[in-house]
Structure formats: structure tokens, C-alpha cells
């Protein structure tokens, strides 16, 4: 079987090998539509490639590390990133490359092309993968085209595509990818057209932008939108866009630019052109027997059809289409830049102000009922910020990912996480806090006479030390509060003093990177680019660094608000304990509020949820997670189940926890390795571990139940495994 086929030679029998996208274009070309010249790399080429270079089993090993359903979205990122790097690192063997090279060279010579995915089964109306796989615009030269063919193959394993296939119950192991190589048509105006409006079956929709289509497809350029009557083609309405930007071809890919003023004032399509597009869409519908979603572009007066696929029926009722959410896993540079502005200029200042405002309010003088109202109000405020955390802060973490992908594509490092070394700048809030703790520990080291008093938690007379301690508590709280499952706080500085005493017994923990090394890495990275590209690379690096820093800082800021909730709950708890003469550990805040409002009410304790333990006959010996911080460490485990466990932490122990909460990071410098249930390489805990150069394994299911405090464990942060015993 040949591995590549020109569009005009495609027949019905080739459909399984070339995918719906290439097949539709071949059919439209046959009925006389204007289609850019194209070749299709068959799915067989993909199969031969992954078999020949041993990628098939490597991919399957990667995605079967863990039960797919137990994987968090951040773990999916990681798996997809690692698989993508396998493709980037593995050249196409010469026997396959040879077969592809000459048709590509003969067809396109020096012409620029678009390299698009065309996965078999992708464009059926039941399983439209629209937008889930990658396309690369403006690729030039056979070598570059073949490299992008590999990237399109890799996109079969993107997190969004993996999740979607999983949801549709498709057999991931049998999926394959064909690739469409299409001459680029540098249209001046482009857009999409829906033969049938998904919201109103009697209408059709046409959207148009200036420049290339990619700006519209990824949502960075707002389109003009027309609604048409499907029967007559009459324009029912036109919603003009704020025409500010456009995407143009650049020397290597595409570029996002400001739209010239003369164009921003002009509608991109005339009524006549809208009619021409509509007719094409109806012709395509007639040919395929179903309403189509068509991408088109105008080069001068010539209308080209770039792709056509059936409109996916959005199912109603129980099975909700989650594709928009999966697609939101990919964020464009422009989108993230806007999000950064919002976070830095609006959200963080507002968060700091909120915490500040709450901390200045004296609640001790409130009556019980007023206190109940205050707790409820603060819980509301906290809930609102948690929602913002999910809607804005978490998506901003994609900045790291976007930079990572760019770095891997341009530098092609063997370690897919090498880019993380450029992101860490040691300016995280957690590290600032740990630095301040270290300063106090160093004061104690220098003045051993302080130790006996500290051990008894007696008042310290050293003015400098007292001032530092007060400043610390003012800025970061007393270290011991957390909300959610645990709402108890150790009051006062006892917790900090315990930690300080442990810190003084050892030399200070070293941070991993010197600023010198970072500067070196940065200049080496930027020197790969020229002028405009260098500016873009620097901007992307800056975005990645901000995203990395905020991944930690936002946790600390949210932690401050949490603390202000917990202190009021604590006040309520104390009052009720005094009134009922009983200890109120393990009582929900809602119960405390109830008891404050009703002086006869006795709060109910939460039914205790004993962590599931393996029976004595069964013992975990080696558990697989995700490699999140390279290195190997062996030591005694300290499993963190409640805030009080933090203060029992001994230097050199392995920290085992559900997730490193913002209020826990202060024990990281004392630990020799980290095991976390929550998975991913870009999560807060992994970032902190990496800053201290600690071996770290994340995504270990049931980490806190399978491992017990005192167990001897080995953390293999290279391979992502934990060995117990």
C-alpha cells in the first residue's frame, strides 16, 4: 500500500485510510469546488512509524500507568506532554520518509502549506473531533512538513483528544491518524459557515474575519456574524465585530497583529459574497446529505473551501457534550495575556484587600448571633474566591504549558520538563515565607541561649527575634490553619516555634537554582531566535514565569482568606465549648453557626471517616504515580492526616500527603522527598519540590492510606514510583 495519495486520486475505498476531512475535500473537489491542492498521508504511515520505532508500546505504557478514570486533568497534561515529546524526539525512519518525501517535494516545492489532522472516524456526525487535534499553518519545505506531520500524529494523544475518546468509549489503542497537507491559501478574508444554526434549525450562520482563519477558530479574533434564512438565503441579521486584530502568515507560522484602520471600519464580506458562501454550503450539504460546518477563505475574488464536515448534533438530556470544556484546556497566547492582566491588576489586589479587610475586623466583641452571621459571611466570601480560583487562576496555569510546548518544539530537549528550569525564579510566596522562617532559625542557631525558653514556649526577650516573629505572623499567619476537612487551628506561635526548633537542628535547606544559572539558561534559550521571534519567545517566557509564580502565590493569597474564615470559626467553637462544656473537635462549621444562633442547640459531631486501611494480609510494596521531581530519596514516611501531624514532622522524613496545601509548604525544606495523591507535574506541590530539588512523586492513589507514618519508603522521582519497605 502506498503511504501518501494526492487529493484527486482519492476514492471511496480510501476513506478508512485518509479520514473524513481529506475525504470530504476530495469529494467537493470532484463536484467542481475550489479546493487548495493537497496530499494525504495515510493512516498506514502512522501505523508503520509507531511500530517501526517502538512508539506503539511506549505510548500504551504511558497511558496505562494508571487507571485512566483516576487521572486528574493535570496528569493528562503530563501524559500528553511526554507522548508529544516522544514524537518530537523520534525521527521518521528513512524507509518511510523516502516514500513521503518525493510526492511532497514534487507537489509543493517551496510553497507554504497547512498540515492538518484527518483522523479516520473523526468527522462522523456522532464523533466529531472538530478542533481537538492540531493543525499547523504556513509550513515550508519538505523537512519542516515531515516534522509537522509528526506533530499532527502526536496530537492524536493530546489530553483533550484522550479525554474525548475516553468519553465516547472509543478504543484508544486502535486510534490512528492521517494527515492532510494542503497548499496554503493566504486569504485576505476567512471564516466559517454553518449550514444549519445549532440553536435554530431554520437558519444558517456565517462568520468572517480579516486575515487567516486561525484567529477565529482559536477565539482570539472576534468575527462578524450573519444569520441567514436557510430556505431563502436572505440575511436576517448582522452582528458586526470590534475589528481590532488579524492573523497573518509570518516567516515561520503565523502572527497576530493589529488590524489597519481602513479595514477595521469595513465589513469583511459584501452581501453578494455572503450569498456565494451560502450556496457553497448548501451544495456541500446536498452532496453529503447532512448540514455542513465549512471553513472558507477569499483570496482576491476567489472563494476556496478549506474543509467541510457534518455539524455535530449536540445531544440533549443526560449525555452533555463536554467538548467545549476539553477544548478550553488549550489556551492561546492572546487569551492568556488578557487573563494575566485580569489576575495581576484586578483579582490579586482585590484578594489581598479582602484578606486585609477581614483581618482588621474585631469579631471578639460580636454577640453570638452576630458572630454566626460573620462566619457565614466569611464562608461565602471564601466560596466566591474559590470559584474565581477555578475559573481564572487554574486556567492561567496553561501559561506554563504553552511555554513548555513552545520550548519543546524549538529546543527539542530529551527531558520534556527541561522548560521548568527556566520558569523557576525563586520568587514564590511560599519560598519567601520559608526564607523568613530560615532567618529566624538562623538567629536561634547563633544564639543557643534562646533554645531552652523556646522549648517551653516561654516569652522571648530578644527584641529582634520577637519583632521578626510578630512580623511573620502578621504577614503569613501562624502556619497552622487550614479549611475544608480540617477546621482546627493551633493558636498562637507554638506551631512556628516547634518548626523553628527542628530547623535549627540542621543546616539550612538549599534552594536548587542560582540566579546565575537561570540567566545563563535564559540567554541560551533566547539566542536561538532572531528579532521578532526573539521578542515573541521572551514574551512567552515571561508569561510562563508569571503563570508558574502565580500557581504558588494564588494559593498563598487564598490561604490568607481561608485563615480569616477559620479564626472566626475558632472563636465560635470556643464559645460553644465553654457553653456546652465539651470538646468540639470534628464539628462542621455549619453546626457551630447553628449553635451560635440557638443557645439550646448542641452541635453534632461529624461521623468520623476512618481512612481505609489495607488488611494486615495485604501490603503495598511498590506504587506507581507520576514523576514530578527528579531524584531518589529514602527515609521514614510522615503521613499528614491533620494539621497537628505537620508539627510532628522530623527533619529528613518523607512527606506523604493528599496534596501540599498552601499552609503546609513550610515543612517542605525539612523533608527529603515528597509523595502526593494529587497528580501532575505543574501542580503547586510539584513546583515547590522542584524549587528545593526534592525527589517528588505525585498522583499516587491512596498515598495516605497505603503508606503509614514510620514506614521506610524510597521515592524514585525519575520514574514516578514509591517503594515501601
Amino acid at each position: 500500500m502506498s503511504l501518501i495519495i494526492p487529493l484527486e486520486e482519492i476514492e471511496e475505498k480510501d476513506r478508512e485510510q485518509i479520514g473524513g476531512k481529506a475525504f470530504s475535500l476530495a469529494m467537493l473537489s470532484r463536484v467542481g469546488m475550489n479546493i487548495p491542492e493537497a496530499l494525504c498521508v495515510k493512516a498506514e504511515a502512522y501505523h508503520q512509524f509507531i511500530t517501526c520505532v517502538g512508539l506503539r508500546e511506549r505510548i500504551l505504557l504511558e497511558i496505562n500507568r494508571k487507571n485512566f478514570k483516576e487521572m486528574r486533568w493535570e496528569e493528562m497534561w503530563d501524559a500528553a506532554l511526554r507522548i508529544r515529546n516522544m514524537f518530537l524526539q523520534t525521527p521518521i525512519p528513512s524507509e518511510i520518509a523516502k516514500e513521503l518525501q518525493s510526492p511532497i517535494e514534487d507537489t509543493f516545492k517551496d510553497k507554504a502549506v497547512v498540515v492538518r489532522s484527518s483522523a479516520p472516524g473523526e468527522d462522523s456526525s456522532q464523533a466529531s473531533f472538530a478542533g481537538l487535534h492540531e493543525s499547523y499553518v504556513n509550513v515550508q519545505g519538505t523537512e519542516a512538513i515531515l516534522e509537522h506531520v509528526r506533530l499532527v500524529w502526536a496530537s492524536l494523544w493530546s489530553d483533550a483528544a484522550l479525554l474525548y475518546r475516553q468519553e465516547l468509549g472509543l478504543e484508544i489503542e486502535k486510534s490512528a491518524m492521517a494527515v492532510l497537507i494542503q497548499e496554503i491559501v493566504n486569504g485576505e478574508r476567512s471564516g466559517v459557515a454553518f449550514g444549519k444554526n445549532p440553536n435554530d434549525g431554520s437558519q444558517a450562520v456565517i462568520e468572517a474575519v480579516y486575515g487567516l482563519n486561525s484567529g477565529l477558530v482559536d477565539g482570539t479574533v472576534e468575527p462578524d456574524r450573519w444569520i441567514l434564512d436557510r430556505q431563502t438565503g436572505r440575511i436576517l441579521s448582522h452582528r458586526p465585530a470590534r475589528r481590532e486584530n488579524w492573523v497573518r502568515p509570518s516567516t515561520d507560522g503565523t502572527h497576530f497583529e493589529t488590524l489597519p484602520t481602513d479595514l477595521s471600519e469595513k465589513t469583511p464580506l459584501t452581501d453578494d459574497e455572503i450569498g456565494r458562501i451560502f450556496n457553497h454550503v448548501l451544495n456541500a450539504e446536498e452532496h453529503f446529505g447532512a448540514p455542513q460546518d465549512v471553513e472558507w477563505t477569499f483570496r482576491e475574488d476567489n472563494l476556496f473551501i478549506l474543509q467541510s464536515r457534518p455539524i455535530t448534533t449536540i445531544s440533549s438530556g443526560t449525555s452533555e457534550d463536554k467538548r467545549p470544556w476539553y477544548l478550553s484546556l488549550r489556551r492561546s497566547f492572546e487569551n492568556l495575556k488578557a487573563l494575566r492582566q485580569k489576575i495581576e491588576r484586578e483579582l490579586i489586589p482585590a484578594m489581598v484587600e479582602e484578606a486585609e479587610r477581614l483581618s482588621h475586623k474585631d469579631f471578639t466583641a460580636l454577640s453570638d448571633i452576630q458572630l454566626a452571621d460573620e462566619i457565614a459571611r466569611r464562608m461565602d466570601i471564601h466560596g466566591r474566591w474559590v470559584a474565581i480560583y477555578w475559573s481564572d487562576f487554574i486556567p492561567f496555569a496553561h501559561g506554563m504549558r504553552l511555554f513548555g510546548q513552545f520550548y519543546n518544539d524549538t529546543v527539542k530537549p530529551e527531558d520534556p520538563y527541561e522548560f521548568m528550569d527556566l520558569l523557576g525564579r525563586g520568587q514564590l510566596k511560599s519560598l519567601e515565607r520559608n526564607q523568613k522562617l530560615e532567618e529566624m532559625a538562623s538567629m536561634i542557631r547563633k544564639n543557643p541561649s534562646l533554645t531552652p525558653r523556646l522549648k517551653k514556649f516561654e516569652t522571648i526577650e530578644d527584641e529582634d527575634f520577637k519583632r521578626k516573629l510578630d512580623e511573620f505572623i502578621q504577614q503569613f499567619g501562624d502556619l497552622s490553619c487550614s479549611i475544608g476537612e480540617q477546621t482546627e487551628c493551633l493558636q498562637g506561635p507554638e506551631g512556628i516555634l516547634k518548626i523553628l526548633l527542628k530547623m535549627t537542628a540542621h543546616a539550612p535547606a538549599k534552594k536548587r537554582w542560582s540566579s546565575h544559572r537561570l540567566d545563563d539558561l535564559t540567554s541560551r534559550f533566547l539566542s536561538r531566535f532572531k528579532e521578532k521571534e526573539e521578542k515573541f519567545a521572551a514574551e512567552l517566557l515571561d508569561l510562563g514565569r508569571t503563570s508558574y509564580r502565580l500557581r504558588d502565590d494564588d494559593n498563598i493569597y487564598l490561604g490568607r482568606i481561608e485563615r480569616e474564615v477559620v479564626v472566626t470559626i475558632e472563636e465560635g467553637r470556643r464559645r460553644i465549648e465553654k457553653r456546652c462544656r465539651m470538646k468540639l473537635e470534628g464539628v462542621d462549621p455549619a453546626e457551630i453557626i447553628k449553635a451560635l444562633r440557638n443557645s439550646n442547640y448542641v452541635p453534632k459531631k461529624r461521623s468520623s471517616t476512618e481512612p481505609m486501611k489495607l488488611s494486615s494480609e495485604l501490603k503495598a510494596r511498590q506504587i506507581i504515580g507520576q514523576p514530578a521531581g527528579p531524584g531518589i530519596a529514602k527515609g521514614k514516611a510522615r503521613v499528614i492526616l491533620s494539621p497537628s501531624d505537620l508539627f510532628r514532622f522530623e527533619s529528613g522524613e518523607i512527606l506523604v500527603c493528599d496534596a501540599i496545601e498552601p499552609n503546609m509548604t513550610f515543612i517542605v525544606p525539612l523533608s527529603s522527598g515528597i509523595v502526593e495523591r494529587r497528580g501532575g507535574m505543574l501542580i503547586h506541590g510539584a513546583i515547590i519540590a522542584r524549587e528545593y530539588g526534592l525527589p517528588c512523586v505525585t498522583g499516587v492513589p491512596e498515598a495516605t492510606t497505603q503508606i503509614h507514618t514510620g514506614d521506610l519508603v524510597t521515592v524514585d522521582g525519575f520514574l514516578g514510583i514509591v517503594i515501601i519497605g
Binding site: 520505532v53 517502538g54 512508539l55 506503539r56 508500546e57 511506549r58 500504551l60 505504557l61 511526554r82 510494596r621 511498590q622 531518589i632 529514602k634 524510597t714 524514585d716 525519575f718 520514574l719 514510583i721 517503594i723
Partner: protein
């Protein structure tokens, strides 16, 4: 007689090479404190049949056992889990001494090992993973249910 014997040896060696290239997994036997211990491992035989290679991380029980006692055995077979295995299947037990590969030898053998098991690239490349080579002393080859021959490997 001697010629016939040499032919038989050559045939047996060819048979072993074929068997080893057709099989990916072997059973490794180690021991510690008089307690034998078995593992399934991905193996590779060198062309001269002098070495059997496999990889493990250093925190495993098998690595610990090997560190204390490098004498090991390995079983490779071609059974298909059918009744016909009793007359058709062959099983080979290799005995010898194992050592960890280092330096240029490790680089050479690692390349060889990955040519058979390319999907283990991430695993084998980890600094925590050891590449081990067994210097085979004897192969015990069992065929036709009860037919057993020994092949002694010259150093």
C-alpha cells in the same frame, strides 16, 4: 563423531538464538537468606549467547537479592498455554553470575537491549535503573517433555 557433535552444538545454539529472539520475557530466580524469589523480566541475549541482559530499579527486592548473592537462574520458554505445550514447548534454564553494567560496556549493552525493547527507553534511561548482565555458565534445554541437554558456555 566429533564433527557430528559440533554440528549438534551449532544447531542447538541456533535454536537458542531463535528462541531468545522470539521471546520478550523470562523468569528470573534470585535468592536471599535461603529463600528463592522469582520475577518476570524483559530480557535480551547477546549474539554469542554468553550474556543475558535485563534491567531493574535499584530499590527492588531482586536487586537487593542480587547485591547479596549474584548467582542467579533465568528461565525462557515458548509455551502457548495449550495442551500441545507438553510435546511442543521448549524451556531453557540458564545459570550463572550477574553483574551490573557500567561505563562504555553499559552504553553498548543498553543500546542492544533497547533495540529489542524500545518501549523501555524511559525506564532504562532513568538514573535509578540498573542494567544487569548475566554471564551464563550453563544452559539446560528441555524439549519433547523430558529431553534435556546441557550447553556449557566457555568463558
Amino acid at each position: 563423531m566429533r564433527v557430528i557433535h559440533m554440528e549438534k552444538t551449532a544447531q542447538l545454539k541456533e535454536f537458542l538464538k531463535d528462541l531468545f529472539s522470539s521471546q520478550r520475557l523470562a523468569v528470573l530466580a534470585t535468592q536471599s537468606k535461603k529463600q528463592p524469589y522469582g520475577n518476570l523480566i524483559a530480557f535480551m541475549a547477546t549474539n554469542d549467547l554468553k550474556h543475558l541482559l535485563f534491567a531493574t530499579t535499584r530499590a527492588t527486592r531482586k536487586y537487593d537479592n542480587i547485591s547479596k548473592n549474584p548467582r542467579i537462574a533465568m528461565v525462557v520458554d515458548n509455551r502457548s498455554n495449550q495442551e500441545a505445550d507438553f510435546h511442543q514447548a521448549a524451556a531453557v534454564t540458564a545459570t550463572g553470575v550477574v553483574k551490573e553494567m557500567v561505563g562504555p560496556q553499559k552504553r553498548r549493552f543498553q543500546k542492544l537491549y533497547l533495540s529489542k525493547h524500545p518501549y523501555l527507553k524511559e525506564f532504562v534511561s532513568s538514573p535509578t535503573c540498573a542494567l544487569l548482565g548475566m554471564d551464563v555458565e550453563t544452559y539446560y534445554v528441555v524439549r519433547q517433555f523430558q529431553n534435556v541437554v546441557e550447553l556449557h558456555i566457555k568463558k
